[in-house]
């Protein structure tokens, strides 16, 4: 195996080649979810609930059915009512029945935009007209939007059969609290009693959407023998296959899912909304059906991530050692259980070595769209509270905020509150590099302030497959099992090229459908470069071993005498007159040495190392409008080793930008009637180019991951964890008081400044 610590010898890894799919993506040739067209294809449209909470008394489709051009109409009754069990999705498990009921409501609608029926017709206009002709009779029920109101006794209940899990004995009455998650250690009460300093506060964040620019889209085609095909953009073709097949009660082998290019996901495409509906429509009429969400539908009925309410209390000694912390986290789950509050509890203090900890999390349903994973699910909100409280602690102690974090930073061997042992962590180095950076040393102008914050994410490994095929001319095709959401074809091809000793231009990478490559978990959890990359390297190593065997046979020499370097086999045995054999030479004679040269590897990758980030945000505020402007930003991260540094930088920059939006602008705004009032890009304000400065990056590569052949750690999620607090801490310093409620919209900041 290649040595992860020998970075100096690497020829391809660490370079910045053009991605293999680049030209397709700058010329408009790349095919995304909505770009497929099949002969005879119908246009689908979904009927959605206008009410936040209502019982469905009846659905009358008779008028819609009579409209010429309408070919199929379906409701929740068309799904397999026996669908049950769980599927590994994104970064947690998801219950099939709830996914099905989120795709098409059964019995009740639970949020505005909840799907109740769907139509397939020959033209989109006809489908839209038919949707209007479907008569749904509702008995409107009281609704609840706010997380604390949903937790209160007497709140309208979403699920009469939901009793809070994690509480013993089982509660007598149902509740909107799906889960109480408790973790901790040590003597928290004792540590607070003997503390020199205590900081405490209540922090809140709003629900925010992943904001991928590509709306959900798919085409589904049912075969008369049951064998079916779905084309869709998702973060995992195998996940889509599992969910759709189980919802429709069909064997996995009868469903082929072909991954389209994916126009962003950030976790939001680790579930299904349209695919089972399109396939059941196709089953009804025998023609392919395309379903595409509008942007309004994306806001109403997909994503977002949880809004939260958190109480945090931290005890420390006067020299800045954190001795204890207590935290309550209540996260919105949306209409069905499954907020990432458990992950919030696990990550809240993961950057720090704290002896005494008590965390309690609540997963709370309310009449909002069901949350989906969003980049480091659950961690950014928790880090907002903790990193804000630490900023306040540093102020109280008169300590440099980086020194405070250095004093408490986890090092290898530390035990996390969830029981794992910290390994290969470069958090201390990351803090030190930020402290030594030109940015941190640059003085601020009047009216400006600087925020510092850190963040942690686990990163995962898991099941992945990859194949390496040697072409007859000595070039190589890599088949990856994961949709390429941010340039992973490049990193896969680079790791294969490095292992095989080929120039990067001789290696191409494609993404396999569910029938052409072994199983893989989704593109999520910052796992692809680590786990699927490991499968690629192992497949390439098998190919190298095979090539060496073929060379030894050709020369009639001992296998141990064959060396492989730079894509060429050489013979170290001086007694043989053996001319070096290139990849090309060996490939062209493969029929004489055992047939085609190829290898496929399926693994369950272990040893993903956690990542740490530290961000700096300089900001100023217009005193007349309260608008914050980020004027300088640096994102530093412990990345193990960057396979393609430009795409790693891109992850840091993109995560920072999303976090800045979360901190300053983005929020789901609800009216009293339970309507989402800003379901458009005009009113849900994501950062645009003129809102941001350049985002500087520091890639900390001092601790390559020893469990990965080239030292890679996951990098995609960590960078959205620190920015909420980095921004909020800077705003707090300008305003002169602690800002505890996101987003820090101009109105909120102006009000805080006015109060002085």
């Amino acid at each position: 195996m290649s040595d992860g610590n020998q970075g100096g010898k690497l020829k391809v890894v660490g370079q910045r080649p053009i991605r293999p799919d680049g030209v397709d993506k700058v010329t408009g040739r790349a095919q995304f979810g909505a770009d497929f067209h099949l002969p005879g294809m119908l246009a689908g449209r979904i009927k959605r609930s206008p009410h936040p909470h209502a019982r469905i008394a009846s659905i009358d489709t008779s008028a819609a059915e009579k409209l010429p051009g309408v070919k199929a109409i379906v409701t929740g009754a068309d799904f397999d009512s026996g669908a049950s069990g769980e599927v590994e999705a994104g970064e947690g498990h998801t219950a099939i029945r709830e996914v099905a009921q989120n795709c098409l409501a059964v019995g009740k609608v639970l949020y505005v935009g909840h799907a109740v029926a769907a139509v397939a017709a020959t033209q989109p206009e006809i489908a839209a007209e038919a949707v209007d002709l479907i008569e749904v009779t509702y008995e409107v029920l009281p609704h609840v939007i706010d997380v604390e109101e949903a937790m209160a006794p007497g709140a309208p209940l979403l699920h009469a059969d939901m009793f809070t899990k994690g509480v013993t004995p089982k509660p007598d009455n149902p509740s909107n609290i799906a889960l109480k998650s408790v973790m901790g250690r040590g003597d928290v009460a004792g540590a607070f009693k003997s503390a020199d300093v205590i900081v405490e506060g209540r922090y809140t964040t709003a629900a925010v959407h992943q904001g991928y620019i590509e709306p959900h889209a798919c085409v589904a085609s049912w075969g008369a023998d049951g064998q079916s095909t779905v084309w869709c953009s998702s973060q995992g073709q195998f996940l889509v296959r599992a969910l759709v097949a189980k919802i429709l009660g069909m064997p996995l082998s009868d469903l082929k899912v072909i991954p389209a290019e994916i126009g962003g996901g950030f976790g939001g495409k680790t579930t299904v909304y349209l695919e089972p509906v399109a396939l059941v429509l196709s089953r009804k009429c025998g023609r392919p059906v395309k379903l595409v969400m509008s942007r309004e539908e994306v806001f109403l009925a997909s994503g977002p991530t949880s809004g939260s309410v958190m109480d945090v209390k931290i005890a420390a000694t006067k020299d800045g050692k954190i001795t204890a912390a207590e935290m309550m986290l209540a996260y919105q789950a949306g209409a069905f259980p499954g907020s990432p509050v458990h992950l919030g509890c696990m990550t809240a203090f993961a950057c720090y070595d704290v002896e005494n900890l008590a965390l309690v999390g609540y997963d709370v349903v309310s009449n909002r769209p069901k949350v989906a994973a969003y980049r480091a699910p659950g961690a950014p909100m928790a880090a907002f509270a903790v990193e804000s409280a630490l900023d306040e602690l540093a102020q109280k102690l008169g300590m440099d905020p980086i020194d405070l974090r250095l004093k408490n930073a986890v090092k290898d061997g530390a035990k996390t509150v969830y029981g794992a042992t910290v390994k290969s962590a470069a958090f201390v180095e990351t803090l030190e590099m930020v402290k030594a950076s030109e940015h941190y040393k640059t003085p601020l102008a009047k009216g400006q302030a600087r925020g510092v914050a850190a963040g942690f994410w686990f990163n995962i490994g898991g099941e992945s497959s990859a194949a390496v095929h040697v072409d007859e001319d000595g070039g190589v095709t890599v088949v990856s099992s994961n949709p390429d959401i941010g340039g992973s074809r490049a990193s896969m091809a680079m790791m294969a090229a490095e292992t095989l000793g080929l120039p990067i231009e001789r290696v191409r990478c494609t993404i396999g459908d569910t029938t052409s490559i072994g199983y893989s978990g989704s593109t999520g959890g910052s796992r692809v470069t680590f786990a699927t990359g490991m499968a690629v390297v192992q497949a390439a190593e098998k190919v190298v071993a095979d090539l060496k065997r073929r060379a030894a046979e050709t020369w009639g020499c001992d296998l141990a005498m064959v060396e492989w370097a730079d894509g060429v086999a050489t013979c170290a045995d001086p007694s043989k007159d053996a001319k070096p054999l290139s990849m090309k030479a060996l490939a062209s004679k493969s029929a004489k040495t055992g047939g085609p040269i190829a290898s496929e590897v399926s693994i369950n990758a272990q040893g993903a190392a956690a990542g740490f980030g530290v961000h700096l945000c300089d900001l100023e505020i217009d005193p007349e409008t309260g608008r914050s402007t980020v004027i300088r930003y640096t994102a530093a991260q412990d990345v193990g080793r960057a396979i393609h540094p430009a795409y790693v930088e891109g992850q840091l920059q993109g995560g920072a930008a999303q976090g800045i939006g979360w901190a300053l602008n983005e929020e789901y705004v609800y009216g009293k009637s339970g309507q989402l009032e800003n379901a458009s890009f005009l009113d849900y304000r994501m950062p645009v180019a003129s809102d941001l400065p350049m985002i500087d990056t520091i890639l900390v590569e001092s601790r390559p991951n020893p469990r990965h052949p080239y030292g890679a750690k996951g990098v995609g999620e960590v960078p959205i964890v620190p920015p909420l607090a980095a921004v909020a801490n800077a705003v707090s310093h300008v305003v002169g008081k602690r800002m505890t409620s996101l987003p820090l919209s101009p109105a909120k900041v102006l009000a805080a400044m006015a109060k002085g």
């Binding site: 095919q31 920059q653 993109g654 999303q658 180019a689 941001l692």
Partner: protein, 162 residues
């Protein structure tokens, strides 16, 4: 839902298609002409993924009715490269890794071309404000802005008399 015959020029070639019934230019490009490089991210002119150039002017194709294209000269992402020779903007987007998922990229490239067509030497601020109508959720815009500035420099270099 009456539809009318629309004659226009797309990427230098005369085209004829049926448009109407509230159909946008974007729908016509994608569904009638099968030029799916222009993307729909919002349908309300907020994200810029459908940016095309009509008679030299940058427009969101989702906000223009298909019949309004009658007699117009339309440039889309499919016509940005000169045959198999990439435009300097396309080249610099690749060099800078200025795309991750690539969905906003066609719109950003067309918007950037419209900028450089009228301002060959934009400042960073001018680039940022011109591109403020084109959302990218992946990159944080840093590499996009750099790619556009470098492409502008490439184009200026190519224009210089030797």
């Amino acid at each position: 839902m009456s539809r009318t015959v629309v004659n226009a020029t797309v990427n230098g070639e005369p085209v004829e298609f049926l448009g109407g019934g509230g159909q946008s230019l974007l729908d016509a490009l994608r569904d009638e002409l099968r030029l799916t490089g222009s993307k729909e991210g919002c349908g309300t002119g907020d994200c810029g993924a459908c940016s095309v150039i009509v008679d030299g002017r940058l427009v969101c194709a989702c906000l223009m009715l298909a019949p309004e294209a009658e007699g117009k000269r339309i440039e889309t992402i499919e016509g940005l490269a000169d045959g198999s020779h990439l435009h300097p903007l396309q080249h610099q987007f690749l060099e800078h890794a200025a795309l991750q998922c690539g969905f906003c990229t066609p719109g950003l490239l067309m918007a950037s071309k419209a900028l450089l067509d009228r301002n060959p030497d934009p400042t960073e601020t001018e680039v940022r404000y011109w591109l403020a109508g084109n959302m990218c959720r992946c990159t944080g815009y840093d590499k996009i802005v750099r790619a556009v500035m470098d492409a502008a420099a490439d184009l200026r270099q190519a224009e210089k008399p030797r």
